[in-house]
C-alpha cells in the first residue's frame, strides 16, 4: 500500500486526458495520469470522421456560424457561453494538433482538406482519412513521450480507479488498483481532472468499446458532484447491425446516400435542406420511422457509397471499407451497406463550468465525461474531438494556477480501506448461478428496448423496475476469479456497479423531462416546450445517501431558441 502525491491528477488518458496532462505539465505542474488501459487503447481512437475547425478553413465560414449551428443542433439546450468558447478556441486546437504532427489529409495546395459533416451547412471538418481520432490520439501520446515530458510525468498505466477521495468537501484524488498486482493505492492530488469518457456499454448494442462503462461519471456522482443532462443519449444514425460498430458520418459527408428498401433517399421527407447531413437525432429518428413503417429490411436501412468511386473511398474512407469487408463481407464500392441507429455518445455527464470546474472544489472534468454543456440535447458530429482538446486544455489551465500555494492536509493510507473491504466482500461471495455478464446483458438489452430513440412513460417506468431488480441481483452476484493479478472478472463487477448508477440516472432524467428535445423524444410529449423545459436536469447524491434533483438554467447569449428545421 502506498500514497502517491501530485499537483494534478488526470483520470483517463484519451484525448481529453492526455491534452489536459500535456497542458498541465507545460505549465510546470507535477502531473499524474491514470488509465485502466494503455493510453493509445482509449476509445478516442475509434472516432473516425473528423474534427471541426471553426473559422479555420477558407470556406467554412466564421466561428460564429459554427457556434450557431452547434447551438441549433443542441436544440437550444447547450450553454451558449461554452459553445462560443468551443467555436472561438477550436481552430487553434486543430492547428496545434497539426503542428504536433497529425497527418491531416490535404488539398492540392498543401493546406488541410475539409469535408462536410452533419448539422452544418458548410464544410469545416478536418480529417485524417477515416481514422481522425486514432491519428490525433497517437500524436498526443507521441508528445507525451518527449523526454522532457516523459520524465516529468507519471503515468499509472493499467491502474483501475475505484473511487474518488473527498476530504473536507474537496476532491483530493482517487483510490486505484494496480491491475498487475491487485493492490490498492491512494493517488492524491490538489486538483483532479476526470476524463473517463462515456457509458455506451449501459446499452446493448452500442458503438462503444468494452471499456466505456461510465466510471468517472458514476464515481463523481457517488462523491457528491452534480451530474447533468443524463437523459440525452446520442443515437448515431449509421452503425452496423448486431455488433453496433460505428460507420462514420464522414461517409455521408463525402456524399453517401441513405436509402430505404425502395431505394428512396427518404431524408427528403424529414430534412429537405440538409438531407443525410441533418442533425444526428433527426436522421436517426427518420431511419427508425422508415424501419417501423415497414420500409426497412431486417431492422436496417442502407448506406449507399457506390457512386463515390473506388479512389475516394480508398483515400478518404479506407477504414470503413475494411470494416465492411472484414466484419460483414460487403464491398462498399459495389454494394449497399445495411445500417441501423445505435447508441453512441452521452451528451450528459459531470456538470462543469467553462473551465472544466465542477461545483466540488478540486474536481474538474473534460471530454465526454463532462457536461459543460456544449452539446446540449444533441451533439454535432466532429465536435466531440474538438470538445476534448479545448476543454481538456482549459481544465488544466484553470487548475494549475488555482492550486499554486495551496496546502492540503495529507491523506492517510487508511483511505483505501473502504474499497479494500468492498473488493474483499465481492471476492468472498459464493457462486450463485448468476453472472456479471448476464446482468450486464439484461441491463443493456432492456435499456435499448425501453430507453431508446422513442420513449414512452410506461416503458420508462418499466425500466425503472427492471433496474431495481438488476441492482438486487448485482448486490448478490460474485466473481469466479479470486486472484490478485489481472483479475478482469473483478473489474467487470466494479464496472457493472458504475453502469447501474449511470442507467438509473438516465432513466430518472428521462422520466422527468416531459417534452421532446434533441435526442430525447417522448411519445406522450412530442413537442419541444421552451416555456417549461428550457433548463438542465441535474442529479446529486446528498450526504445522507438520497438523490436530489434540481434544475440548472441554460445560458443564452446570442441565439434565441427557434424552431429547429433541417
Amino acid at each position: 500500500m502506498a500514497v502517491y502525491e501530485h499537483d494534478v491528477l488526470v483520470i483517463g488518458a484519451g484525448l481529453a486526458g492526455m491534452r489536459a496532462a500535456l497542458a498541465a505539465q507545460q505549465l510546470g505542474a507535477d502531473v499524474g495520469m491514470v488509465s485502466k488501459v494503455h493510453p493509445v487503447r482509449s476509445h478516442s481512437n475509434a472516432a473516425q470522421g473528423g474534427i471541426n475547425g471553426p473559422g479555420l478553413g477558407e470556406d467554412g465560414g466564421p466561428w460564429e456560424e459554427h457556434a450557431f449551428e452547434t447551438t441549433k443542433a443542441s436544440d437550444y439546450l447547450g450553454d451558449q457561453d461554452a459553445i462560443e468558447i468551443l467555436a472561438k478556441e477550436g481552430g487553434r486546437e486543430v492547428l496545434q494538433a497539426e503542428h504536433w504532427g497529425v497527418v491531416f489529409s490535404r488539398k492540392p495546395d498543401g493546406r488541410m482538406a475539409v469535408r462536410r459533416f452533419g448539422g452544418m451547412g458548410k464544410a469545416r471538418t478536418f480529417f485524417v482519412g477515416a481514422i481522425t481520432g486514432q491519428a490525433i490520439l497517437h500524436v498526443l501520446y507521441e508528445q507525451l513521450l518527449k523526454p522532457s515530458v516523459y520524465q516529468a510525468m507519471r503515468t499509472y498505466e493499467e491502474w483501475f480507479v475505484t473511487s474518488l477521495i473527498v476530504d473536507d468537501g474537496q476532491c483530493r484524488g482517487c483510490v486505484a488498483m494496480n491491475i498487475r498486482t491487485g493492490e490498492l493505492h491512494a493517488i492524491t492530488a490538489k486538483a483532479t481532472i476526470i476524463c473517463t469518457g462515456g457509458l455506451g456499454r449501459v446499452y446493448e448494442p452500442s458503438t462503444n468499446a468494452l471499456i466505456c462503462t461510465g466510471d468517472g461519471i458514476a464515481m463523481a456522482y457517488r462523491a457528491g458532484a452534480p451530474i447533468m443532462d443524463m437523459e440525452m443519449v446520442q443515437i448515431h444514425p449509421t452503425t452496423l447491425k448486431g455488433s453496433g460498430v460505428l460507420i462514420t458520418e464522414g461517409a455521408r459527408g463525402e456524399g453517401a446516400y441513405l436509402l430505404n428498401k425502395d431505394g428512396e433517399r427518404f431524408m427528403s421527407k424529414y430534412a429537405p435542406n440538409l438531407m443525410e447531413l441533418a442533425s444526428r437525432d433527426v436522421v436517426s429518428r427518420a431511419e427508425q420511422t422508415e424501419i417501423d413503417e415497414g420500409r426497412g429490411v431486417d431492422g436496417c436501412v442502407f448506406l449507399d457509397m457506390r457512386h463515390l468511386g473506388e479512389q475516394l473511398i480508398k483515400e478518404r474512407l479506407e477504414e470503413i471499407y475494411e470494416i465492411a469487408r472484414d466484419l460483414v463481407n460487403i464491398d462498399i464500392t459495389k454494394e449497399l451497406l445495411p445500417i441501423q441507429p445505435g447508441v453512441h455518445y452521452i451528451m450528459g455527464g459531470i456538470k462543469t463550468d467553462v473551465d472544466g470546474l465542477s461545483p466540488m472544489p478540486g474536481l474538474y472534468a473534460a471530454g465526454e465525461a463532462a457536461c459543460v454543456s456544449v452539446h446540449g440535447a444533441n451533439r454535432v458530429g466532429a465536435n466531440s474531438l474538438l470538445d476534448t482538446l479545448v476543454f481538456g486544455r482549459r481544465a488544466a489551465e484553470h487548475a494549475v494556477p488555482w492550486l499554486q500555494g495551496k496546502k492540503f492536509r495529507p491523506i492517510p493510507e487508511s483511505v483505501v480501506e473502504k474499497d479494500r473491504k468492498m473488493i474483499a466482500e465481492i471476492v468472498d461471495r459464493p457462486a450463485n448461478g448468476d453472472r456479471v455478464a448476464k446482468i450486464r446483458r439484461d441491463m443493456g438489452l432492456s435499456m435499448s428496448e425501453n430507453v431508446g430513440l422513442f420513449r414512452s412513460p410506461d416503458k420508462l417506468e418499466k425500466q425503472k423496475a427492471i433496474l431495481k431488480e438488476l441492482r438486487a441481483r448485482y448486490e448478490k452476484v460474485g466473481v469466479e476469479d479470486k486472484g490478485k493479478v489481472f483479475n478482469t472478472d473483478l473489474l467487470f463487477h466494479i464496472e457493472l456497479g458504475f453502469m447501474l448508477d449511470c442507467a438509473d440516472m438516465i432513466v430518472t432524467s428521462a422520466i422527468e423531462r416531459k417534452e421532446s428535445r434533441g435526442a430525447h423524444t417522448r411519445l406522450d410529449y412530442p413537442n419541444r416546450d421552451d416555456e417549461h423545459w428550457l433548463k438542465h436536469i441535474a442529479l446529486q447524491r446528498q450526504p445522507d445517501g438520497t438523490e436530489k434533483m434540481f434544475y440548472i438554467p441554460v445560458t443564452i447569449t446570442q441565439f434565441q431558441p427557434m424552431e429547429r428545421k433541417y
Partner: protein
C-alpha cells in the same frame, strides 16, 4: 456450429503454463474475440485477455492464433477452422514478450523500442501561422503508416527479435519511417543515422513475417527497406548493411552475378582484419569444397573480372531501374 478452443494459460504467481479447452457455439460472423469473450463471460471468468473496441482500431487483442500473431477481433472463427468442426484453435499470448497472465503480455519491450526512435515530430524554425503546407501524397503515404494501431503482432512474430533483443523491431521502425517521411520533420538525416546503427534498419533479415501478420497493412518490412534506401541516399554508408548493398550492386553491375569471394570483405570492410581473420577458416572450407571459383578471385571493377554473357542486357535492366523514382509506400492487403 461449435468451435473448439485450446487456450494457453500462465499462472501469474508460479509462472506455470497449461492449456484450457473450451467449446463455444458460433455463427458465420463470430470472431475469435467474440468466442473468447463468451468464454470469459459465461464459462471461465478467470481467463485474462486484453480487448476493447472489437473493431481493430484499439490494438488491444493481438495474440497468437494457431501459431501466428493476429488480432482476435478480426479473426473470423470460420475462416480459421475452414468449417472443420474438429479443428481445435490454439490460442496463445504474443511471442517475444514476457507473459503476465494467460493471454496478457508485458508490452514494455514494445513501448521501450517505440521510445527509442524518438517518435515525435521534430520540426525546426518558427511555427507557421496556419498549418504547414505539405503535399497530400506525403500525408497519404504517412497515413498508411499511421494505420498502425500498436497491437504488437509484428513484434510478436519478428524472427530477429527471437535471437537478438537489441533489434529495434518492426513497429518502431515503421514509426521511424513515419517521421523520416514527414516533410515537416527537420531531423531526417540525424534520424537515419540513428536508425542505421546496430539494432536498426540493417538488422532486419527480410523474413516478411511482420508484413504477413500486420492486421492494418502497414507492412513494416517495406518501411524498413524504404528507410535503407533513404539512408544510403543520405550518404550514411559506414555500416555493414550499406556496404553489403553496395558490393552486391557493384558485383551485379560489373559482372552480372554475385561475386561470393568479395561479398564478405566488401561488406565488413576491406581492412577489417579481425573480422576477416575470423572468417578465414570458413573461407578455406569453401575453397576446398569448390565454392570459391577462381574466376571470382578478381574483385568486381578490377581489370579482368569475370563477366557473364549477355552483359548488355544486364546493363539495360540496371539503367532502366536507376531511372525509376523511389517507390512510395503502397497499401498491402491486410493479414485478416
Amino acid at each position: 456450429m461449435k468451435v473448439k478452443l485450446k487456450v494457453k494459460r500462465t499462472d501469474p504467481g508460479t509462472g506455470e503454463t497449461s492449456y484450457s479447452r473450451y467449446q463455444i457455439d458460433t455463427v458465420e460472423s463470430t470472431t475469435l474475440l467474440d468466442a473468447l469473450i463468451q468464454v470469459r463471460e459465461y464459462e471461465d471468468g478467470t481467463l485474462a485477455l486484453r480487448c476493447s473496441c472489437r473493431s481493430a482500431i484499439c490494438g488491444s487483442c493481438a495474440m497468437r492464433v494457431d501459431g501466428r500473431a493476429r488480432l482476435a477481433c478480426r479473426a473470423k472463427v470460420i475462416a480459421i477452422t475452414r468449417g472443420n468442426q474438429e479443428h481445435e484453435i490454439t490460442v496463445e499470448p504474443m511471442g517475444n514478450m514476457p507473459v503476465i497472465k494467460d493471454l496478457v503480455t508485458d508490452m514494455e519491450l514494445f513501448w521501450s523500442k517505440i521510445r527509442q526512435v524518438k517518435p515525435y515530430l521534430q520540426p525546426e524554425g518558427p511555427e507557421p501561422e496556419g498549418e504547414y503546407r505539405v503535399p497530400n501524397e506525403a500525408m497519404l503515404d504517412l497515413t498508411h503508416t499511421m494505420n498502425c494501431i500498436m497491437c504488437g503482432a509484428c513484434v510478436s512474430d519478428c524472427t530477429v527479435l527471437e535471437v537478438d533483443k537489441n533489434f529495434i523491431a518492426p513497429a518502431a521502425l515503421a514509426k521511424a519511417y513515419r517521421f523520416v517521411g514527414d516533410p515537416r520533420d527537420a531531423h531526417q538525416v540525424e534520424r537515419l543515422r540513428q536508425y542505421s546503427e546496430y539494432g536498426g534498419i540493417w538488422d532486419c533479415t527480410r523474413c516478411n513475417m511482420c508484413v504477413e501478420v500486420c492486421p492494418k497493412g502497414v507492412a513494416p518490412m517495406n518501411r524498413i527497406l524504404q528507410l535503407r534506401e533513404m539512408a544510403i541516399e543520405a550518404g550514411i554508408t559506414n555500416n555493414a548493411g550499406s556496404r553489403h548493398t553496395k558490393i552486391f550492386t557493384k558485383s551485379i553491375e560489373d559482372g552480372g552475378r554475385l561475386n561470393e569471394v568479395w561479398m564478405l570483405p566488401g561488406s565488413v570492410g576491406m581492412f577489417n582484419v579481425p573480422r576477416l581473420v575470423k572468417e578465414a577458416p570458413g573461407a578455406l572450407k569453401m575453397l576446398r569444397a569448390g565454392k570459391l571459383p577462381l574466376s571470382q578471385m578478381i574483385p568486381p571493377g578490377a581489370p579482368g573480372s569475370h563477366k557473364i554473357s549477355g552483359m548488355d542486357r544486364v546493363k539495360n535492366v540496371i539503367r532502366k531501374s536507376a531511372a525509376l523514382k523511389p517507390k512510395k509506400a503502397e497499401v498491402v492487403s491486410d493479414g485478416a
